[in-house]
Structure formats: C-alpha cells, structure tokens
Symmetry: C2
Subunit: 306 residues, 2 copies
Amino acid sequence: MQWPKNILVCEVGPRDGLQNEEKTLTVEQKVELIDRYVQAGAKIIEIGSFVHPKAVPQMADTDEVAKRIKRAAGVEYRALVLNIKGLQRAEAAGIQKAKLTVSASRAHSLSNLNRTPEEAVRGFEECAAYAAARGMTLSGAISTAFGCSMEGKVPLEQVISVIEAFQEIGVKELSLSDTTGMANPQQVYEYSLRVKEQFPDVIWNLHFHDTRGMGLANVMAGMMAGIVRYDSCFAGLGGCPFAPGASGNIATEDLVHMCHEMGIETGYDLDGIISIGRYVQQLIGYDTSSAILKAGKSCDIVKKQK
Amino acid sequence: MQWPKNILVCEVGPRDGLQNEEKTLTVEQKVELIDRYVQAGAKIIEIGSFVHPKAVPQMADTDEVAKRIKRAAGVEYRALVLNIKGLQRAEAAGIQKAKLTVSASRAHSLSNLNRTPEEAVRGFEECAAYAAARGMTLSGAISTAFGCSMEGKVPLEQVISVIEAFQEIGVKELSLSDTTGMANPQQVYEYSLRVKEQFPDVIWNLHFHDTRGMGLANVMAGMMAGIVRYDSCFAGLGGCPFAPGASGNIATEDLVHMCHEMGIETGYDLDGIISIGRYVQQLIGYDTSSAILKAGKSCDIVKKQK
C-alpha cells in the first residue's frame, strides 16, 4: 500500500462551494476568504466563475473579487468559464487559469446542451486558441466521470473518449469529477490507473463528493493509483441536487487532517483552515457536514484531557 | 490494490449503538431489530451486554432480549460481558459467545481500573477457564487500539503486548477498536499487517468510528492488509463522548453500500438494512449521520430520474 509523500489540495470553495449556497456572500467576504485561504497554504484556489449573472447570481461579482484579492507569488488563481466571453472576462480580471467543464455522460450532455460530450469539448476550440495566444492556461473538468443521474455508471471508455477530445484541443490538465457522489474506491482506482497510464503527460486531478461517505476512501484509492491533486471545499459545502441534506464536496479540513495524520504533506496550516471553515459556517449561517469542524482534530481530544 | 472478495460485517448496533442512546428501547423493539437484522443477512450480531444495570441502564434487559430473539442457524449471537457474573448470565440466556473488552492504553486502563491492560486481560483468566469448560467462545476487544484521549497515539508495541496477554489466556478472536475515532489509514494498514503477520492464527476484526470522516477509508486500509471482519452499527449510532454531535460508529448501510459498489460481497440485503436503519432513526427520534440514510444508494438517483 503506497501513497504519495505530498499532495496538492486545490481549494474550490469560493466557486463550487459558494455557488450552491442560498445566501450570496459580499465581495469583501469572498476576498477575505480567498486571501486567508492562500495565507493558510492554498497553492491552487478556484475564486469564482465568469458565467452569466442570471445563471449563477452567487458568482455575479467574480470580476470584482478577482481584482481585489491579493496575488501571492506561486499561487494559481483559477476560475470557471463556459465560453470565450467568460475567458475574456477572466483575462480582463487578471485570471490566467480557466477551467472548462464537460459532462462525461452522453445522456446528460445531450439533454443539457444538445451536444455529445466530445462535441462540447470541440466547442471549446476557440477558447483553447485564445488562451494559447495569450499565455493563459486551461484546465478541463470532466464532470459525472464516474456516474450520472441519467445513465448510471459512466463507462471508462466514454471518459477516455472525452479525454481524447480534450487532448485534441491541447488541454494538458484534466480533472475527473464525481459530481453525483457515486464513485467507489474500486472504480476510482481502476479509472485513475488507466487514465494515468494512457495519458501520462496529462496533469491529473480528482474531485470527490462525500455524498455516500466514500469521499476520503476515494482519495485513498486515487493516491494509490499515483494521483497527487485533489479538489476539496472549505467546510464541505456544495450539496447534492438529487439528495437534499446530503453531504457536499469533501471538506478541505477533513482531507488535510487525514493526510497530515498519515504523514502526507499538503503545505496547509491545518489550524488555519479549520478556523476559516468555522468562519464559513458563520457566514452561511449553518453547520455543515465537515467532520473535523464537528469533532476537532484527533490530537485535540488528547489536549482537552491533559 | 487488492481487497477481499467478501467480508463479514458484524452488526454491533443493539449493543454499541443503543447503549449510547438517551432513549432506552423496549425489549420488544430490540428483539424486532435483532430478528430483522438477522433476516437481512447479519451473521454475527452483538445483541447487548450483561453488565450491571446501574452502569448501563439501556442494557438492563439483555437477558430478556436474549431469550426472546429467534435463533437462526449459522448466526453468532454475541454479548459483551465484564466478568464471570456477566458470563454466567450470558450462558443462562443461551448466549454462547461473549466479548471481553480491555483498553490498550496504559493511562486509560490505569485510570479506569487501576490495572495495566495486561493485568486487566489476566483478570479474565477465570472467564476463559469457565468458557472453555462449557464450550462457550470468547472474543477480545482491544479498545483505544489506535489512539486514546489520555495518551494520544497508542504505540503498536503496546497493542502487541495486550494481544500476547489475550493469547496467554487462550482467546483466539480479537478486535482492534478505534474507540476515539483517531485512527488513520496509514496506521490501520501498519497495525493490521503487523498483527496479522505476528499472530496468524488469530481471527482478526476491526472496529471503526467515523468521527473524523476516515471510517470507510480505514476499512479500505484494513481490507488491503487482508482483514475481512468489520464491526459496524445500524444508522451509524454511537457518538464520541469527547466530541458532542460528531459521528459515531461507521454505519452498516454505508459500509455495505461501499462494499457492494466495489463488488465485495457481504451477504446483506442492502435495501433491507436501509429500511431497518430508517426504522432505528424513528425509534430513537432523530436523524443520524449515516450517509446512505441521507443520500440513498448510488443507483437510487438514477432510478429517480428515469
């Protein structure tokens, strides 16, 4: 049983977490969260999305957020875009890294966009050319990569086909996302090994939800397949649309805590991100499913007793 | 990455779960839960404890429960006992398998019992002789085997020393219990490999709590070390005394769901135990931390859409 000595934990809270909240935070609050998270060790942070404000009102102020955050050296500030317009907004706001999302599920992609996943990727050709010409980098997120609410388990061959499409437009960094919380460790291990083997030059990232309690077990499986980048979300925000009340993304505190307990370095100040997680709960006004925010670190109960 | 083709999931809810609840269930309710769980596939079930009724009032009626449950062929009905008196009560109630608990932590054992863990095990010599003479079998549970609120991480050598003491009194089945929810997958793997290697004739069992979100990841680590028996608790009852509101034992629904998704057989009817889990929540009057009871099975969201 082998796992990496260190992993890169990408904080997606400001985008993937907050976009799911009923309460929209202010620009100041978002900027504070992002700046504090970077200070606590984030090396990649997804600060928001450049999409139509009517589609996701919680993200309407991403341009302003991007302009106000302190830019720390060596930190990658990333944002989600859906098209060339969004990419241009990102550029104007000084965001050099953009994330493009495509659903691996044919049924889901056809139903949402009336295009196959491969067609959806090819639709990003203009973005890819634009980014290449301006030295911006792109990251491709393959959602429903493990399972989909419309077609169930998404076959690995289907995922591979979407990866190939992304390769054709020159995207070198890809994420497999378990949007629906359906992935299990066997499947994660199988898919991860295969994509790493078949596409060794891609920078691989995994994105899990803890909807069915398997979030950290899936990270273990990914690590054992040699993948060293994982998305997670402060306080574990970002529920599941198909299961109201269920857990959301894996909580960054939970992931970093497990890694540190296992001797895996993340570069995060765990106490710092726990404190930010508690602050997030205050801002959104309720207690989330983050285990560490409920129970504290393993060593805390020892200190309490002493 | 190798895991077993099938595992044995021991249901500890009627004892470890219900003993932590403020509300005490009736004999009828307990009998119904046990009988239904066995019908849904439990092959080992911990039905209660034979301890002093003042110490654990929730378990005061275990004699009555034991007498009323239907005995299914091939099922092991187990109960916790603390001493020869408890063992005799178990025998009188027709329970042939008794569990003895000792804390691996010296500090914890000395503070609770004024005895070292090894002395505590030797204190069970009379029980061992009694059981051997009557064809009863004993199972040893080593609590705080990974961490303790008084001394932090419990060293493997200390755990080994307790195992040796159990070997000396002839106990052939042992469980390492993460009572405080402090175990991490690296530690579980290390401890499991070592105890299996050093004591190959022992029947090994692991017992995890999901206090810090690592419950199922710890099961994965144990499976990869080749351990095939796991305790879990219906609806994930049994919180952590040091962290009010934190998760309890790993939920049987969550464990069985993960295994079935991975193609690991458990012999359980998953829908059956989910239905019992929901009934448990009704009986105790609140929603527990079980992920599957909140989110449903992975395949449920597909069915809902179709």
